[in-house]
Amino acid sequence: MTPDRATSLIQERFGLQAAGAGRSLTLEQLPPERWVEFFAFAKDTLGCRFFSFLTAVDWKEQGLEVVCRVENLDDGVGIAAKTRLGAEARCPSLTAIYRGADWMERECYDMFGVRFDGHPDLRRILLSQDWEGHPLRKDYAIDTPHAPYR
């Protein structure tokens, strides 16, 4: 697998052009309904078996965007795919494909409030279970008071 071959395979199957080169291919605007399909394809066809990270970005009015990066360590192909979520902030879970997605999706839920459909155990991971709000959202001010200081 080479980055060029990966780019053309993605183009063929998903009709999207990946940007970048080598280990840093980026795939923008993947529809959420093809999210799981894409990562199954990345793992099996592109050989991206290494799960690097999963996170989200809050683009304010334009909604939340989930970013996930996987990599083919043997051939040097890394792909970061992004998907824009709707107002209800739901995203399909990747836990069935990558076991590493478990904690990362929990962290993403904790910090952004993204609900991962199909995650077996979606609860907060870094903050306490009774925490209010999701701190990495842009509307959560850094000096937001929280119990017991409120």
Partner: protein
């Protein structure tokens, strides 16, 4: 909280007869930090494990959005406080990647130099504390711990002479490094690595001829090649599971291609394989340190003017993922810049976070005593897990 745990116990099939739920932590000497494990036992064998993390959470990613490119690098050291040089470097590399900022050759060499010294210091801490955890097997165990700390102190002395701080440095900055080597430092550094080089033979002879040590580490906590990649563990865990990947060679940064070093890989995937990988890394790091000192070019240490105000560094709009091969593996920083003096979003891929998430997959099936050996071989730093 209580409800969630009760639910978990029912899912795990707790019948109240032969299974026992045991709490380990959050204050437990083998945790090397604050980490709670909820173990379900059948006799002394673990059948399921749940982990509770976050005790050290400071929301670094939010902090990163509120601090400027000039301020944050010295805070970045507080994520992985055992290898502070690594996380600082990942952050500045990401900013430099977006801004396409050149780094002078001397600064690149200095970055490699401190990175490798940091690896030696961090591995010393790992070896010492791990052997302390397995104390009974090592006739008291404190011997290796004290020896390792003695050597680690020597490296910290070097850092203190270089930056004025022993643990949290603020050495890296966008465009280069903040400090240059003081007079006589290079000579002192050579003597230190020569000394440590000799000591490593001593550690190995103490451990590898020790049957209880071998019994407690060989065949314990096996991570398969497939599982290692799928969970995304990095560094010695990945290379101990027969995956030949190291960012220093495969995705090089800071002039690593100028140096000659090997990437140790072991196939077994157990605690002993991870131990062997780290012991060989000690020697490779020493080799790199010597090469840097031999070839250190003259010239400036930063491509940017000296800092006069916090908002001085501006990075154009863009995003980048930069990673550094730290002592615990791939430390990555995903940075989105919007053209201002602060990033729009910053994500840490903490090596320890990913490495620790392997535990629920490998611990079941082992005895309680093995958990301590496995934890130590994972080498988590909780500042980086919880960020």
């Amino acid at each position: 909280m209580a409800d969630l745990e009760a639910r978990k116990v029912i899912e795990l099939g707790y019948g109240g007869n032969e299974r026992l739920v045991m709490n380990m932590g959050p204050q437990h000497p083998s945790a090397h930090g604050v980490f709670r494990m909820i173990l379900t036992l059948e006799g002394e064998t673990i059948v399921a494990m749940d982990s509770v993390i976050g005790y050290l959470h400071r929301c670094h990613e939010k902090l990163g959005e509120t601090l400027t490119y000039a301020q944050y690098p010295s805070i970045a050291s507080k994520t992985d406080y055992v290898a502070a040089m690594t996380s600082e470097l990942a952050y500045v590399l990401a900013a430099e990647k977006i801004g396409k900022i050149e780094v002078p050759k001397r600064a690149q060499y200095l970055r490699v130099l401190v990175g490798e010294l940091q690896r030696i210091a961090s591995h010393c801490l790992w070896l010492g504390t791990w052997c302390l955890d397995m104390g009974g097997a090592l006739g008291g165990g404190a011997t290796v711990f004290l020896y390792c700390f003695r050597e680690r102190e020597m490296v910290l002395d070097l850092f203190e002479a270089l930056t004025g701080a022993r643990l949290l440095y603020g050495f890296h900055q966008v465009g280069g490094t903040r400090y240059d080597l003081p007079e006589g430092w290079a000579k002192h550094c050579r003597e230190t690595v020569d000394h440590i080089d000799r000591r490593i033979d001593e550690y190995e002879s103490m451990l590898e001829a020790n049957t209880p040590f071998l019994v407690r580490s060989q065949g314990v906590g096996v991570i398969s090649r497939e599982l290692a990649q799928e969970v995304g563990v990095a560094g010695p865990l990945l290379r101990g599971s027969d995956v030949d990947f190291d960012a220093r060679r495969d995705d090089p940064y800071s002039s690593y291609p100028d140096f000659d070093f090997k990437i140790p890989v072991e196939a077994a995937g157990d605690c002993y394989a991870r131990y062997r990988v780290r012991m060989q890394e000690f020697r490779e790091s020493i080799k790199i340190v010597r090469q840097v000192l031999d070839g250190l070019p003259a010239g400036p240490i930063s491509s940017r003017p000296g800092l006069k105000s916090v908002g001085q560094v501006r990075i154009p709009k863009g995003e980048a993922y930069a990673r550094v091969e730290g002592p615990r593996g791939e430390v990555g920083c995903y940075l989105i810049a919007d053209g201002g003096p602060k990033p729009y979003r910053m994500k840490w891929r903490g090596a320890s976070f990913s490495n620790l998430s392997i535990l629920p997959h490998i611990v079941p099936g082992h005895k309680v005593a093995d958990v301590v050996a496995i934890m130590g071989s994972v080498d988590p730093v909780f500042g980086e897990v919880d960020r």
